[in-house]
Assembly symmetry: C2
Homo-oligomer: 317 residues x 2
């Protein structure tokens, strides 16, 4: 089925690039993850390495300075490791176990990377301490508005994981519209975009960020990243579980189509999304705001980068 | 038990005031709710009127101009009506029913009160159309950063309702720490604060909003509002259902205390929170930033206003 996905998806018409220091950042990020205790066995370290978080981050910001490349790489590493952790411990399908952990991580986000009151990180465990480290480093270099946006998007991500876990506990497959909307959160794409904006120096003023056209561009870009991921990962997820959190599964269930037709429908959504992205972008770029240009460039890198990384990474093989 | 709550809670040491136009705003807001179809029966209209949303809003912004008072009143009206709607239709305990509605409302929030593409509001029903109306009016008068914050806080609220509904479906009573953290979202206090900031002209710059001391002040104020509400509503909720989403229930369950001891523990948390609020505020106000002064004034009004409104409103009798 993976060959079908590859054949049916339009290759995003943006340059294929990767940061020259991506591989070095990956080595450092793997060490960072080990030092914080995000990976504790050889098997989980190997799985994380196979997922190539540094390649994905390096494709998202090919021209960033080393510091911001590392920060984005560590975020992607954290997200992959947390995802694996939820899978391994069954947390991702058990709201009663996941909720208390999510709450600790929400408390960490409330610190906004600032000073930590004594004992405030202990309860949040390794993932809490590492999350605070990300926020602390973002705080050092990011405009305050970007830091607030980043924390808010991670909150949405964490809350949406509870929705996903509750669905899994009940073997519930969400409808397509519901899945698409919530996948935008569970994919943690928007906080990743935001640290990519930091790496690209893309700081639209709040008046721009509140422009619904910019929101629409951001949304379409996030969907494209998620759907590309869903198309490439369908085989693996389908082999491993009956989990309904994949666009192809949601489409198959809602429409009654077989899996091949549903996978093609996923690809068609992706291809239509690319066309929609181009339309939205051409209108926005006509305004000639350099901050918006960089904002769009960051999203183009993510769209193409996810496609290329999906082709290369062993994660879904 | 309500008498016990009243006796045990410290009266917040802030002036008791209410907007001179609160009652007129309440009449207009009730009409607004009816026009949007948020209340469709005499019984639900009566219940909403008994909850006195206009009194609560009028206490939160006693000096606001009429326009901003109405906007806050309509938000509180919307929140009360939505809460009643979730109770009446069983949505609040049924994630499979609630999730698709939440997703439509999230789509409405993405519009940020801007132009609505044809057909974009239809699926979201009366509550979606009314929510868009609130965002549209906020957009007209609010700084863009405040609008973005408002939408983000409502997103958190909606996502947290899914957590609550999943708990109810499974008869799960969350632990105290988890309850306290999530109650901050399900109470929708922070988006209410934000429209109150609009009414008070309290616009701290993003550097201030990212100050963890300001976040802590905001958090303690939100908790105080929630816990006051929980203390006063315990009787009613306890009579009506076995729902575990009340601080007193969470404490009783976690500590094994009887309900009277747990209610006293709730009151003690509230009283300690008041002391904590005073400490945090005195440090922040020493900076002499007028925007922060107004930000704190808005929260003092909410804390005292909730207490006074709880004494007066028939909602919990």
């Amino acid at each position: 089925m993976r060959g079908l996905a590859v054949a049916a998806l339009t290759m995003p018409p943006f340059p294929s690039r990767v940061h020259a220091e991506a591989s070095g950042a990956g080595v450092e990020s793997a060490r960072w993850a080990a030092e914080f205790g995000l990976v504790t066995t050889t098997a989980t370290a190997r799985r994380l390495a196979q997922a190539s978080p540094a390649e994905l981050a390096g494709r998202a910001c090919p021209d960033a300075d080393s510091h911001r490349l590392r920060l984005l790489t560590d975020l992607v590493t954290w997200l992959f490791a947390f995802d694996d952790n939820c899978d391994d411990d069954g947390l991702g399908a058990d709201p009663a176990q996941l909720s208390p952990l999510v709450v600790h991580l929400l408390d960490v986000l409330d610190l906004l990377g600032g000073p930590t009151p004594a004992g405030s990180l202990g309860a949040a465990g390794p993932f809490g301490a590492a999350l605070h480290d990300l926020c602390r480093r973002a705080r050092e270099v990011a405009p305050p508005a970007l830091l607030l946006r980043f924390a808010g998007q991670l909150r949405d991500y964490l809350l949406a994981l509870l929705w996903e876990a509750a669905n899994r506990e009940r073997d519930r497959v969400p409808g397509v519209a519901e899945y698409v909307r919530m996948r935008r959160f569970t994919g943690a794409v928007q906080p990743s975009f935001t640290l990519t904006d930091l790496a690209h120096g893309a700081f639209p003023v709040s008046g721009r960020l509140a422009d619904p056209r910019l929101t629409a561009l951001d949304t379409v870009a996030a969907d494209l990243v998620c759907w590309c991921n869903d198309a490439f990962s369908y085989d693996k997820e389908h082999r491993l579980s009956r989990d309904g959190h994949n666009l192809t599964v949601a489409i198959a269930r809602e429409t009654g189509q077989d899996e091949q037709a549903a996978l093609l429908a996923t690809a068609e959504r992706f291809n239509a999304g690319l066309r929609r992205y181009a339309e939205l972008e051409s209108v926005l770029l006509a305004d000639g705001d350099p901050a918006v240009d960089r904002f769009a460039a960051a999203r183009r890198c993510w769209i193409r980068g996810t496609y290329d990384w999906s082709l290369h990474a062993a994660r879904y093989r």
